[in-house]
Amino acid sequence: MEFEAVIGLEVHAQLSTRSKIFCACSTAFGAAPNGNTCPVCTGMPGVLPVLNRKAVEFTIRTALATSCTVQRRSVFARKNYFYPDLPKAYQISQYELPVALGGHVDIEVDGGTKRVGITRIHMEEDAGKLVHEGEFADAQASLADLNRCSVPLMEIVSEPDMRTPEEGGAYLRRLHDILVYLGVCDGNMEEGSFRCDANVSVRPVGQEAFGTRAELKNMNSFRNVEKALEYEIRRQVERIEDGEKVVQETRLWDANAGVTVSMRRKEEAHDYRYFPDPDLLPLIVDDSWIEELRATIPEMPAEKIARLGRQYGIPSYDAGILASSRALADFFEVSAAIYAGNPKTTANECIHWKDAVIAGTLSPETIAHAVEDRERGTISATASKKLVELVLSTGKPFRALRDEQGLTQVSDTSALDLLVDKILAASPKEVDGYRAGKAGLLSFFVGQVMKESRGKANPKMVQEVLKRKLG
């Protein structure tokens, strides 16, 4: 029997606000234990939450960028459970009425486009961190650091629309790009700013009903998500083929062993007793606010790749690299506007100097001038590279350095004639050899001329002059 997988992903993205979602503590990573806390986020008696406007705006922008319907009225609810990393013993989240519903993102798979539905997007607060003394199993005590408590999170729940680990990976990357593009999440998976849980089940091809699903957690990179999905799908299929049943459970991905492991925690039946948080009123979002935010949505990666290809005639592979960073793509477009001569070369240059571009240490003029000078034969490729490096190390303008360093190529035909004559006169044997048919000797002459010119001769023109003279 053939099986297919059904995959839905839940992404928890940390919103890039400066302060927490319900209090004014910093969200900065790496503070001293409990250094970013206050009475509100440590759940002291009588204190109250007040919603961070920026967190709402970031969530609405995400909703708009993923074609969700922003809800005019949504409600914060309390999710009640006891744990030492949850100071109030409830997490403020959204439950029945989330801020956004029903969107989608398009992904590229097997040369085609596939649409993955988004069920909902809601806001919630993060919990703190527990450090165990010794190994978890025999730890005598745990230490609670509440710095992360109330850091704003956005949960994006997909429809179970994906069928392969590759689709899962493509969806995650696309969503990641969108959030980073919007500037609403830094996308750092290692620090936990972008986390993903997966719901996976398998069913015989052709069957409509879903199989029993497992929830996968603890996957901290795109690659691990794909690997975990691959493993889990295989595991479930094997179980069914062995005549056994898949159990509904939560499984942790063990990246070292390359397997998913049942949490096997004897959990009391979850009963979170959700109810509307009486300390917060409904979140009301009006049309003018939505429109104001819609105006701030930049072009999304997929649209950008397509447009760059169309507008500049660059290969979609290159457009993809450029579009992987909003800063890089913007840089490219500015450079290509300054020198419109050859966008393909400009694209290559931007990709070559990607790190410096993203770090903000290069100006678009530098790349535009480098490309233009090369195109016009004023400098060589080698000189161009050397000059850009000099721009980076000295901060001086590209053309000033070019003149100062004397790296302008000799493209003047009469000057080249003199150089070529000199070389040919000094190498009679090679001249004879070439004329006798050893065409490979041309590069020997070019090399000699270049050497004589100390790299300043325009190699293309040198070739032309040589060919003419050797006739």
Partner: protein, 96 residues
């Protein structure tokens, strides 16, 4: 509406309240009496009635995304029954 002993124990567990055996029956009776009383609400037809969570009708206000550090970590930790390395220390998390 009588609630069972098991329900009392389940709810106590959810609420993290350890109950001595001697209290279970008394609590069961009291809770049953209270629940019996509140079941009078069933007499009312509330189809189509919008629930009230707040007596006031307005949207939640916002704060600007500005960091204002509390600035006195020691005061926050000072009430802790057990602390270590500026963290709150709790007994091991074991299954039961």
């Amino acid at each position: 509406m009588a609630i069972t002993r098991e329900e009392v124990l389940h709810v106590a567990r959810l609420a993290r309240l350890s109950l001595p055996e001697t209290e279970v029956e008394r609590l069961r009776e009291q809770l049953s009496a209270i629940l019996d009383y509140v079941k009078q609400l069933d007499q009312l037809d509330t189809r189509g009635v919008v629930p009230t969570s707040h007596a006031i009708e307005m949207g939640t206000p916002f704060r600007d995304d500005v960091v204002e550090p509390f600035g006195d970590r020691e005061a926050l930790l000072a009430n802790a029954p057990d602390r270590q390395n500026d963290c709150f220390r709790v007994p091991r998390i074991i299954e039961d």
